[in-house]
């Protein structure tokens, strides 16, 4: 499948979109609500018509092809099961419309139902099923048709947390088994990262970045991607250009060199902050769990700045610290659960600068921030 440019309407829901999805790939479209990801999916399905540009599936332009003839199957957020038909008829409707023989329909419905564990439910109506079962039927309806492309429009958002995890794994397993191209839309970045072979991040109708989950997380192309992906969200700090280089707004240190912009944004992931209590118990270094598991570049013994703990959330496997540090923003750091840090505790914080990101005023990443030097003094 080759996705070329798609634009849409006077209210631009999807603007100048160029996206290629490789055959057999599980691609996740992710973005905040209203970013056009569902519209994009509906464009691919043919439920909307592009106002400009072309959609290509399997080497043919399908702009003028009706949804039913595109060899795609779709699972909807609300499942969209026909409430007046039994599960069996729901599953078989697509085949029936295509004029498949009764025997064939029965056979394929039976196989799909068995694969999904729906064998006992075939004579029920959707209203008599639980949410999870409905979700399976919706999935089954897509599988029965044996389509070239699966489209998922936030199919998990109506499930409770546990079921969502399980279904997510099932979809991944299904993809492994069928090897069919799948496009999955979600607003949940965790879901996107865990499920997708590749992830496309969208915002306000534009594609922000497409890449593997690793690329998206480690090398976000712009500020939006950096702040959208990751939980808790990335720390964002404004930098102002100064004579000696860039200065953290209201902060104690200056970055050497001349940043090319008057304003820039520095972003540091919460797990890349190393927090040490300032009361001298230096040995009780608290670092991010990842850092403990696979130490990266040795954190500098020198703390980059000192901060006060405003609030500490004990989450079990880690504690999340809200720090009153330099800069305009409140800092968030992830730390080992022990020792528990009370609000008001003064801490030293060092930053893994190599893993930080510097974004220009247009939000595009320029690279990691250079290691800063302490400022000569607070600015008036």
């Amino acid at each position: 499948m080759r996705g070329v440019e798609k634009r849409f309407g006077d209210v631009t829901a999807v603007a100048a979109m160029d996206l290629e999805i490789r055959p057999g790939e599980l691609m996740v479209l992710v973005g905040p609500s209203g970013c056009g990801k569902s519209t994009l999916l509906r464009l691919i399905a043919g439920l909307e018509e592009p106002s400009a540009g072309e959609v290509w599936i399997g080497g043919r332009c399908v702009n003028e092809v009706a949804p039913g003839d595109r060899d795609v199957a779709m699972v909807f957020q609300s499942y969209a099961l026909y409430p007046h038909m039994t599960v069996a008829r729901n599953l078989g409707f697509g085949l029936q419309v295509r004029g498949a023989s009764r025997v064939e329909i029965e056979e394929r419905v039976r196989r799909a139902a068995e694969a999904l564990g729906l064998g006992d439910l075939l004579t029920r109506r959707p209203g008599q099923l639980s949410g999870g079962q409905q979700q399976r039927v919706a999935l089954g309806r897509a599988i029965v048709r044996d389509p070239g492309v699966f489209l998922f429009d936030e199919p998990l958002s109506n499930l409770d947390a546990g079921l969502r995890m399980r279904t997510r794994d099932e979809i991944a397993a299904l993809h492994d088994r069928l090897g069919t191209t799948m496009i999955f839309v979600t607003h949940d970045q965790m879901e996107a990262l865990s499920l997708g072979q590749r992830v496309a991040v969208m915002d306000r109708g534009r594609l922000q970045q497409a890449g593997t989950p690793h690329e998206i997380y480690e090398r976000p192309r712009n500020l939006f991607v950096a702040s959208f992906v990751g939980s808790p969200p990335i720390n964002r700090l404004r930098l102002v250009r100064e004579d000696g280089g860039g200065r953290l707004a209201g902060g104690p240190f200056v970055f050497p060199g001349r940043p090319p912009f008057a304003h820039a944004t520095l972003a540091v992931r919460p797990e890349d902050l190393v927090v040490t209590p300032a009361d001298g118990r230096a040995e009780a270094t608290a670092t991010a769990p990842e850092a403990t598991a696979a130490p990266r570049a040795t954190p500098s013994p020198l703390a980059d700045f000192t901060a006060t703990v405003l609030r500490a959330e004990a989450l079990g496997s880690e504690q999340r610290l809200h720090l009153d540090g330099p800069g305009t923003a409140a800092w968030v750091a992830r730390a080992n659960p022990a020792p528990a840090l009370e609000p008001g505790t003064a801490v030293h914080v060092s930053v893994d600068w190599a893993r930080s990101h510097l974004f220009g005023p247009d939000g595009v990443r320029t690279g990691p921030a250079p290691r800063p030097a302490p400022a000569s003094g607070p600015r008036p």
Partner: protein, 607 residues
């Protein structure tokens, strides 16, 4: 870009051109067939005249031969045969009142007349232009700078052809009627020659003739409005003989012919016996003019062509085109029925209201606004309007009762469901049955109401027979009828007011009346408005109650607008007047609705 790729795009202009061509062909066929039918029927009339002559004492073959030397022939028919004409194309037959075994056939004038040549030329020219444009358009995809131009061209073309067709048909029909008048005069002449009495002689001409001679003799002979006969008699230019002439009366064309009568045989006839008989036929160009079908066909074809041309830009996007076509396909059943039975009649009604339109009079002379002007001075009509307006005053009363009932029945317990049946039943059952029951209940002497009132003391009243209270009685019955429906609407409205509002008001210490004033009423504002408007529109159209219970009486006290219109049209057969009345009624209803909107909108803005 993809326009040339798909097959649909290329076919649309072709379809448009084909539709235009079909429309033109239809127009020409309509014009042609109107004339052909008129000729055929005229031949039938001649056959009837011939048969009448044949039957006259002293008539027979000779009279028929004298009447129609070339075109008539008498045939023997096999006993019991149904009498299918030997040559149906050329001969119009009438197996008249001849003695068994014979019939008279008259040849219709030949169908030699060509279809209107100018119209055909214009049509072909326009069509080829359209086709050329469509062909060019198919090749080049950029949108035309004048998208409406081809549609206008098509509409103009169709209108031109329809106009030319009508002109041609009218001219031909004119000739046919003139010929008929001449023939009628000749038939009367032949009849007189066979010795028929002057009173009887005109009858051979048959209906529907107007005869001026009959003016002095008993009125049985003239079947046309009297004023036509008067005009004919007064026509000074009438040349005695068999020559047809034309008079215009009330804007309609009559073809007249004069016959010299022999002096009346009996000398003791009082008054002057006429020496000339004038026969007049309402011109076929008035009664058989294909104007309406032509206009309808032209309009329909123009719509079709415009629609297709309108779809043309979509043809580059077959999916959008298909969607639009599908949508119109879904709309087609309802749309076509509405077009034929609602939108068409609306225009037709306006048209009728501008004419003097009597149901049995084939002439519908255009009278402009005369009908309306006459109605302005028509006291009985305005009293009907006044009665209707007064009648409408029952609506607020009914609404107050309905609202009270709705509040009483709030909640949906079983008892309330049964109560709802009792309350709702009057508004859904047969109006006529209800009217009959009430007529019985309110019977002056034996009705339950009067008997109860007498037993209780206050005494009886002439509910339906007193001009003072009959309308009020009808209003009361109407309240009884509509209250259930209104109640259910209010119940739905009440259910949509969030209960939190009431709880909040109670917490704020509002009493029941204050809660009603400040929560219920504002919450029901839209519902109240909806009920008011629909009920007022409905009450302006009350008919069944009046028809059954009072027939507009006593003394016109309950003569409401629709009943008045009904009588004007179906009792006095004055359709033109009745149509004008209905438009005045519409204006009144519209004004009332508009006032409601204005008034309540302003109130709403203030609230």
């Amino acid at each position: 870009m993809s326009g040339s790729r798909n097959p649909v795009a290329g076919t649309v202009p072709a379809i448009a051109a084909a539709a235009a061509a079909a429309g033109l062909a239809l127009l020409l066929a309509i014009a042609g067939s109107a004339v052909r039918e008129a000729r055929h029927d005229a031949a039938g009339d001649l056959a009837r005249m011939a048969a009448a002559l044949w039957e006259l004492p002293g008539g027979g073959d000779a009279a028929v031969a004298a009447f129609l030397p070339e075109r008539a022939r008498i045939e023997a028919v096999a006993e019991g045969g149904t009498g299918a004409p030997a040559d149906p194309g050329a001969w119009a037959y009438r197996a008249g009142t001849l003695e068994p075994g014979a019939r008279i056939g008259v040849a219709a004038a030949g169908d030699t007349s060509p279809l209107p040549r100018t119209a055909t030329l214009i049509a072909l020219l326009g069509l080829s232009l359209l086709a050329a444009w469509a062909w060019k358009r198919r090749r080049s995809s950029p949108p035309s700078r004048y998208p409406a131009a081809p549609a206008l061209l098509a509409v103009g073309l169709l209108a031109a052809v329809a106009g030319a067709g009508k002109a041609w048909a009218d001219r031909e029909l004119h000739l046919v009627s003139a010929g008929q008048a001449a023939h009628a005069a000749r038939a009367v002449g032949v009849a007189l020659a066979t010795g028929a009495a002057p009173e009887i002689a005109p009858r051979v001409a048959g209906l529907p003739w107007a005869t001026a001679a009959a003016l002095e003799s008993p009125g049985e002979l003239w079947t046309m409005p009297r004023e036509v006969a008067v005009a004919l008699a007064a026509s000074p230019s009438s040349p005695p003989g068999e020559l047809a002439y034309t008079v215009r009366v009330r804007g309609a064309t009559y073809h007249g012919a004069a016959v010299a009568l022999r002096p009346a045989p009996s000398a003791d006839t009082p008054g002057r016996a006429p020496d000339t008989l004038h026969l007049a036929l309402l011109g076929y160009e008035e009664t058989r003019s294909p104007a309406v079908p032509l206009a309808a066909a032209a309009l329909g074809s123009a719509l079709l062509v415009s629609l297709i041309l309108f779809l043309l830009p979509l043809s580059a996007r077959p999916r959008a085109l298909r969607r639009t076509l599908a949508a119109w396909g879904f709309l087609a059943p309802a749309g076509a029925l509405l077009l034929v039975f609602t939108f068409g009649p609306l225009l037709f009604s306006l048209w009728i209201s501008l004419h003097e339109w009597h149901l049995v009079d084939p002439a519908h002379p255009f009278t402009g606004l005369d009908n309306y002007r006459a109605l302005l001075a028509d006291g009985s009509w305005w009293s009907a309007i006044r009665n209707t307006a007064v009648f409408t005053l029952h609506v607020p009363l009914a609404m107050a009762v309905a609202l009270a009932l709705a509040i009483l029945t709030r909640g949906s317990r079983r008892a309330v469901r049964w109560a709802r049946l009792a309350l709702f039943l009057p508004s859904i059952t047969s109006v006529v049955a209800i009217a009959v029951v009430w007529k019985w209940l309110l019977n002056d002497g034996y009705g339950l109401v009067n008997r109860t009132l007498e037993a209780m003391g206050p005494g009886s009243a002439a509910w339906l027979t007193s001009p003072d209270i009959a309308l009020a009685t009808l209003m009361a019955i109407s309240v009884w009828m509509v209250v259930g429906y209104q109640m259910v609407v209010f119940q739905a409205g009440l259910a949509s007011i969030p209960r939190d509002f009431y709880d909040a008001a109670r917490v704020d210490g509002a009493g029941p009346l204050q809660r009603f004033r400040h929560i219920t009423l504002p919450g029901l504002r839209h519902t109240l408005f909806f009920v008011l408007v629909t009920s007022v529109i409905g009450s302006f159209q009350v008919f069944g109650l009046v028809y059954v219970m009072t027939e507009g009486g006593p003394l016109g006290a309950t003569d409401v607008a629709v009943y008045h219109i009904y009588r004007e049209a179906w009792e006095f057969l004055r359709f033109g007047n009745a149509a004008a009345m209905s438009w005045i009624l519409f204006a009144v209803v519209f004004a009332a609705t508009w006032l409601h909107f204005r008034f309540l909108e302003r109130r709403g803005a203030r609230a």
